[in-house]
Symmetry: C2
Subunit: 404 residues, 2 copies
Amino acid sequence: MKLSKLFTKTKKQISQEEKSINAQLLERAGFISKEMAGVYNYLPLGLLMLKKVENIIREEINAIGGQEVLMPTLTSIESYKITKRDKIDVLFKTKLHTGSEFVLNQSHEEVVTPLVQRYANSYKDLPVYVYQIQNKFRNEPRAKSGLLRGREFIMKDLYSFHQDEKDFNEYYEKAKEVYKKIFKRLGYGDKTYITYASGGTFSKYSHEFQTLCQTGEDEIYLCEKCKIAVNKEIIDEQNKCPECGNDKLVQKKAIEVGNIFPLKTKFSESFKLTYKDKDGKDKPVIMGCYGIGLSRQIGTIVELFHDEDGMILPESVAPFKYHIVQLTNNNKQLTEIIKNLGEENCLIDDREVSAGQKFADADLMGMPYRVVISAKTLEKDSVEIKKRDEYKSELLKIDNLKNF
Amino acid sequence: MKLSKLFTKTKKQISQEEKSINAQLLERAGFISKEMAGVYNYLPLGLLMLKKVENIIREEINAIGGQEVLMPTLTSIESYKITKRDKIDVLFKTKLHTGSEFVLNQSHEEVVTPLVQRYANSYKDLPVYVYQIQNKFRNEPRAKSGLLRGREFIMKDLYSFHQDEKDFNEYYEKAKEVYKKIFKRLGYGDKTYITYASGGTFSKYSHEFQTLCQTGEDEIYLCEKCKIAVNKEIIDEQNKCPECGNDKLVQKKAIEVGNIFPLKTKFSESFKLTYKDKDGKDKPVIMGCYGIGLSRQIGTIVELFHDEDGMILPESVAPFKYHIVQLTNNNKQLTEIIKNLGEENCLIDDREVSAGQKFADADLMGMPYRVVISAKTLEKDSVEIKKRDEYKSELLKIDNLKNF
């Protein structure tokens, strides 16, 4: 992609009212643009990054049998009355001309439970794993953390349906492992801890995935032996490590990057979702839900990986692997270089601006490798290549770029 | 994909209140499931079909320079006051806890105009072509046509921004050609006519793409010489072919599958979107918009291509090319057959149900080719292959399937 063709531009400064580092850098780099607090436009580079995150999550959820669907935003308030969630604070509501009231879904238990009920009625139909990657809406009173807390945001939500607790527990453990793998691929597996959190009225615990980060909104208590944490919300009742009993837990700031929740029979009972077992007896379906906010991952990546000059994006999610700083117009060699690096991997700064601005924008935009092409490097049939987070650059022969 | 693993099931009948053929067949085949009138869940097969439609549209819009973004659903009512569209009937509205009112976007001129304004201020920045594939919300009083008229539906909306009418007109003609190409690839180019329609208060005409179909909600007047039509809404003022003057226009039923609209300066004036020309003078930006409803294309495909047994999907959009009717458990040969046909092309009916039900479901689901594998065909190292819309089947050697 050529920067000269992109309709967005980098900015040295944006509105003072945007306090969060992630929104500041993403907006300055032209990845996103604010619509209102907690609601953002994804611009071409931001959308490419979102798709990379999406593909990693989709691959991993497919690997544990997830079947992808797409559920709607609008659902009748009647479904929320059934689960007694029609009065919760975060619901956005709207109305038809007839006056019937609708909810903008903030999560999809009220949709997926009746949906699965239409197809799964016997033990032969279970288990079922259904997920989507879709917009969620939450009427947040404060939405000041950029992509970390949205009023409108993109989420992967997976729901599982089982015959019994044993089958559910096995899948729940599988989901834990796949979540670890996702955060590893996104670049912060080593900073992310399974954290015991409240299980609501129907389970003892749920589990969050908390990524250590100074600017995180959450507070967790970490067992450094087990690499397991306890969320502040339950630390009074659970002040020791739930795995080894260690009571020297260390307080840390963190971002909740994912959560998994044993729903047990909460929603299946509300909607009377039962199945016939082998003996023809009706039994309630056991459910679990598993969420990851995609936009929040992008916010997290930027909070974790940046310096004073801009973002430092992991290769797995960067819109492009190479940021080409083009300081010459030798088209023949340029074409060869881009071919060797793979066109789809290259963001090419071919703008008519100063070399200084090109270097500054490369740092701001944060692609993993900066590749400088100048008359000087071409004299040696070479390019100058530098990792975004290292100082040292090296000259590499154009012919050798193929195997880089 | 194995049918035995899919959580959805085909149904012989669905609710009587669903009148439209497209929703009936798609729901019976397990492609969609109704949430409420005009709001549907896309199930795994339906989502695969949606992605195929999406990819065709994306490829073609990228080919005319479209830059993909993702704009939000929620926008402040204040933006709609600026364009005086805050009172239009089809708007869904919602509120923050503070009482501030928001619109669920039914189209995105109120978002994209200020967005482009943040980046394009000089003639050097123009033209700009921005599009997205995203949800739209319309508070339709009647939504009885399945996927043809949704309250929540998926749309590709492209917006173009130009220095002058000449540049706009050139792009508008390019968009016409690319739209023709899209409908051709979707399978109904030959049934689709450019149709003159009202241009609103700011242009003489807009142009619709109308696909001839008995169950369409629109009425058009066709010039059979020019393959051009006039929409009923303007037939009183334009009762001759706008191209050749022919006054023997033929009345037809049709579905509006796309529309393109010269917005001229309507929105750029509202938002004061101007640019500095070469002489430093401020001039208003000329805009166009170009829409295609993705969910409506799926509805159209089914309305056009079906028989009494089910859907007959064009290869370009069918979730799978082959529907494998597996009537034997010879795993070795099965594996070879699927490998030869390409696993990603095969929907495999491995369920433990009668052959009769498998044949009926293959017809209902409408994949382009039915491939029967039975002890009898395997005796001859063959499979029986039949096009969905033909009666004749033929035996093909397993070895030859690679080149099919």
